[in-house]
């Protein structure tokens, strides 16, 4: 197998074919937009839903970290020549997983439990990225994403200590989980094929989706909950 070409700097990036550059820009734009939008529609509003000051302040920190991820990707995008308005949710439609109308603390905890688990898989797939500035960003982001998923798990576990909490968490899982598998894109995606061709990403969409379903099952079963059945993909 041929060794994947590594692109170590912005200068080397500018010398790469347009297909590579366009692929990297797509990923950077997606992360810049969705980290911001997620913070705006989930993390910030959740501050007001927190059950106690400790939960509130942790949510503040999570919101700050998510916003920080947006800033990092946006700054990289600027270095790559992406216009600021192209990295805005006003221009680039955010992912459908953010269309969920957040109403309760239980829902927010389930979102962090399951959506950040999905995000971890996406970020993991960038850790060996052939474009090193993006690889570095992924490595910086990963510990915080893991903390966000743990946040979700720990607070869901707390909620599940009561019968009402169990009902609330299960209800939130039933409503939110069906939205998540779409996060990984379509099988045999042309974008994904290009990403893998250049070593920007390593895994196929369908592999990541399958991996996610396995991990999501495990994490909700540890809470004594279950995942709803999904419509066929």
């Amino acid at each position: 197998m041929a060794t994947q070409q590594q692109v170590k700097t912005i200068e080397e990036f500018r010398a790469m074919p347009e297909e590579f550059q366009g692929a990297v820009r797509k990923i950077v734009i997606s992360h810049a937009v969705n980290e911001l939008y997620g913070a705006q529609v989930f993390d910030e509003p959740a501050i007001a839903l927190a059950p106690d000051p400790y939960a509130k302040w942790l949510t503040c920190r999570v919101a700050m970290e998510e916003y920080g991820h947006h800033v990092r990707f946006k700054d990289l995008g600027t270095e790559l020549g992406i216009e600021l308005h192209d990295m805005s949710p006003a221009t680039k439609k955010p992912l459908s997983i953010f269309e969920f109308p957040l109403k309760s603390w239980a829902e927010f905890c389930v979102i962090k439990l399951l959506a950040d688990l999905a995000e971890i898989l996406q970020v993991e797939d960038l850790i060996q990225c052939s474009f090193h500035p993006l690889r570095k960003l992924a490595r910086m982001t990963m510990p915080e994403e893991r903390f966000h998923a743990k946040f979700g798990k720990d607070f869901c576990a707390e909620l599940c200590q009561t019968e009402q909490g169990q009902r609330d968490v299960q209800d939130a899982i039933d409503q939110y989980f069906p939205m998540l598998p779409a996060f990984f894109g379509r099988p045999k995606s042309r974008n994904n094929e290009i990403f893998r061709k250049w070593g920007i990403k390593q895994r196929k969409n369908e592999e990541m989706r399958a991996d996610y379903l396995t991990q999501a099952h495990k994490v909700v079963e540890e809470l004594g909950m279950r995942l709803p059945d999904l419509a066929p993909a």
């Binding site: 007001a48 106690d52 400790y54 720990d154």
Partner: protein, 156 residues
């Protein structure tokens, strides 16, 4: 455990600014005590609601004052500065309490929230005794203003 007179004065000013002047200041010894205080379900939810409403009001006022572009760029600059300070504070807090990253992150989250509200209040040119500035002053003297309940103000 006592607080020094300067800190007590700052704490009293803050409590008066949020109309809780009769609340007793309760110093908290140690990170475990801070966690217990932060999880006190007797916390003053009315105060939280008022703080969030004030945050939204300040943001609207700031956008109005900084037309036509609004204050988003200025807030982003503030955010970056707060992030740098918060990340240093997180490392320090983790070093002091290595077994529990969550309480360290909660402390830094509290600091960041107070700093952000202070940045907003500065963008709207509010008075010196605005609650956001008075709360942040406690962080500036190395304290973590924890929970306000009906009778107590826990201060780490």
């Amino acid at each position: 455990m006592e607080v020094d007179s300067h800190t007590e004065q700052l704490a009293q000013q803050y409590l008066r600014s949020v109309h809780r002047g009769n609340t007793r200041i309760e110093p908290v010894p140690g990170w475990d005590g801070a966690r217990r205080a932060a999880r006190d379900l007797g916390w003053d939810r009315e105060l939280l609601a008022a703080q969030i409403t004030e945050r939204h009001n300040l943001r609207r006022q700031a956008d109005e004052l900084h037309k036509p572009g609004g204050c988003a760029t200025l807030l982003e600059d503030s955010f970056k500065a707060i992030s740098v300070a918060a990340n240093i504070a997180l490392e320090t807090a983790q070093h002091a309490n290595p077994g529990d990253i969550s309480i360290a992150k909660a402390a830094v989250g509290a600091f960041s929230e107070a700093a952000f509200d202070t940045a907003l209040s500065m963008l709207t040119e509010t008075v010196a005794h605005h609650p956001a500035k008075l709360k942040f002053a406690l962080f500036q003297v190395g304290r973590w203003p924890l929970t306000i309940t009906k009778k107590q103000f826990f201060l780490f």
